[in-house]
Symmetry: C2
Subunit: 189 residues, 2 copies
DNA sequence: CGAGACTTTGAGTGTGCTCAACAATGGTGG
DNA sequence: CCACCATTGTTGAGCACACTCAAAGTCTCG
């Protein structure tokens, strides 16, 4: 499912924004020969169409059922803090893409998505379980890797007892600190 | 030379911004083991310290003599369009880091910097000459490559007659369309 | 049951990295 | 002025990580 990608004009501030209240959206760009890069994964609470000028053509793709609410643009403080969040995400992702190894990228992605999409836990002692809305191919296009490399990292983490999954999209975190160490580049693999 | 990296608090909009009127600044982040990623290169006209919350610790480093002016934060439209520009830059850079090859990255960087830092041309027929404010190492940290790879790409472009330089920081564009084709992934090398 | 989409796994290759030596430049002090 | 050192850039050899190509397995859906 493809959403209209332009929510605002080329300059000036937009008159209203759209807030994603539920679901998951991928914003991506594609090179001439088909190489695709997912620039941001938008989760609940984030604004959609923040700075979509007309220079950068961006494709927005829903990865689940989504619910979007209109938010008035004159609530400047809310808009500003949402932009802050988007900036921080993309800045962190820049470091990931420029300087992290494949396992580090996958670990970072798992932790990031788990924080943003984990289901409410039933008991405090249960391991966090969450739904990757992205398939292996989408993860690859987000993390700047190939599909196969992503898959290999997942099985590696599974064999190492850091995560578990039966269906490839439903992941259980078994050892969050170890994953965090890998994501930060402090552990080997 | 290191600037103070926080120009705004953690949330809400800042009361004033700083506009770079002259010079060049690199914004970077560093991993625990020293790997560095330059997240953005700020040129004349751009805002400094846009979304520097306290979560993402960002280092700002001047690469030349700089002149910075205060700009009032209540000029919302100006601020907003500057944020737009910053977003577009970092989004394009995300594609570069995630999906482009080394020569494509270097060609993109040369073109980007030439647009933002080229000296006024004396005659219309002269080839554009500009100053890379970044050294090879900084370019590497910006483009997610190693210093040596950046250097090799430069000499490759030089040998191919696409650019020229005697001092490694002062570059002349000899064949902009060919560079553009490489940057876009439409030409082999 | 077969078609299609997605994932996993393997084998081999290549791009870009690491390690290393050398050259060019500029600043400092004898 | 030149020797000395630090810094930066260039170039080469070899390697490794991640990619490409390929095949087989799983699941859903018609």
């Amino acid at each position: 499912m493809i959403l209209a990608s332009r929510a605002t004009g080329s300059e000036g501030r937009p008159h209203h924004q759209f807030r994603l209240s539920e679901g998951c959206i991928a914003l991506s760009q594609t090179l001439a020969d088909g190489r695709r890069q997912i620039v941001d994964i938008v989760g609940p609470g984030a604004l959609v169409g923040i700075v979509l000028g007309d220079k950068n053509r961006m494709t927005a793709e829903t990865l689940s059922y989504c619910h979007i609410e209109r938010q008035h643009g004159d609530d400047v403080d809310k808009t500003y803090s949402a932009i802050c969040e988007a900036m921080k995400r993309i800045e962190a992702h820049t470091v990931l893409l420029g300087r992290k190894t494949a396992p580090e990228r996958v670990a970072s992605a798992i932790l990031d998505l788990s924080e943003r999409f984990s289901r409410p836990q039933r008991a405090h002692f249960e391991s966090p379980v969450f739904n990757l809305y992205l398939g292996r191919g989408d993860l690859a296009d987000w993390l700047g890797l190939s599909l196969e490399t992503v898959s290999r990292c997942f099985t590696r983490f599974k064999r190492a007892g850091l995560i578990d999954f039966d269906e490839p999209e439903i992941v259980t975190l078994l050892n969050t600190p170890a994953l965090q160490a890998i994501a930060d580049g402090a552990a080997s693999a």
